[in-house]
Symmetry: C2
Subunit: 139 residues, 2 copies
Amino acid sequence: MAHAPPMTIGDLAAATNTRVETVRWYEKVKLLPAPERSAGNYRLYGPEHLRRLSFIRRGRDLGFTVDQIRELLAMADDRDRSCAEVDTIARAHLAQVERKLADLTRLAHELRDVIGQCGCGSVADCRIIEALSPHGDPS
Amino acid sequence: MAHAPPMTIGDLAAATNTRVETVRWYEKVKLLPAPERSAGNYRLYGPEHLRRLSFIRRGRDLGFTVDQIRELLAMADDRDRSCAEVDTIARAHLAQVERKLADLTRLAHELRDVIGQCGCGSVADCRIIEALSPHGDPS
DNA sequence: CTTGACCCTGTAGTTCCTACAGGGTGCATG
DNA sequence: CATGCACCCTGTAGGAACTACAGGGTCAAG
């Protein structure tokens, strides 16, 4: 139960379902801090890197841009930042997240409907498109 | 209350918060069918195009690739497709949607926490990163 | 001490847009 | 009726976020 041994870039990539090249790219654009290097110049990652990369990957999968993720990470990093600033950013992101939640919820509902109907002849009345049709600003 | 008059590409783009160039690009890659043209060679869109483009845009915003959206649209289009096939695709997409829902729900929760805490000195214990940390395969 | 899996840097290619350049359309207005 | 001005057309080039080599070094196993 000592500290976990450092991971190589391959380990980290495997643990987060990421390509090795992508991990290096995140380092280049400063989403992921440059880790220590071994004697043989290998990158060595710790659990902090794992958490951070996991966050980045899931954020990307949810449709956030790299800049938005950078902003969310900065919020977590600079905890002595002005409260008003954090509040404003967090509120903006929350509004966006709630819009995405609403859209995803309706899409999940329609997919379940399609799956439920499947068992007879054909997909009678598919409303998948309606699930994400206009219902306010898709800003 | 007659049929709505056809929209120009600018109208359609404005209605879906999309750039005109992007609409033309979707046509080129066959996500959006090529519409009728006016005498002066302007594209003329109807409500079907609006629904479809809206679906595409929201799908992209939710992190689906163009190919995944193509698959979802095909499911809605070819309603006389083999039931088993639609079922398999729908199940795969539903699993992905539910993973995204879980992630977004946790992110929304953490953002609300941050907003709630803001009112005193500093962001004491920010757990935003934990919201999207490892908890199963982020496939 | 070699072999194979893995790491390094760098550059070029892919996807999904985004931004012009150079030119035509269409309607209001003098 | 002509002359703006906003909008449309077809390109092609650029940017964001990866992805895939090429050419070479590291290292544990046998």
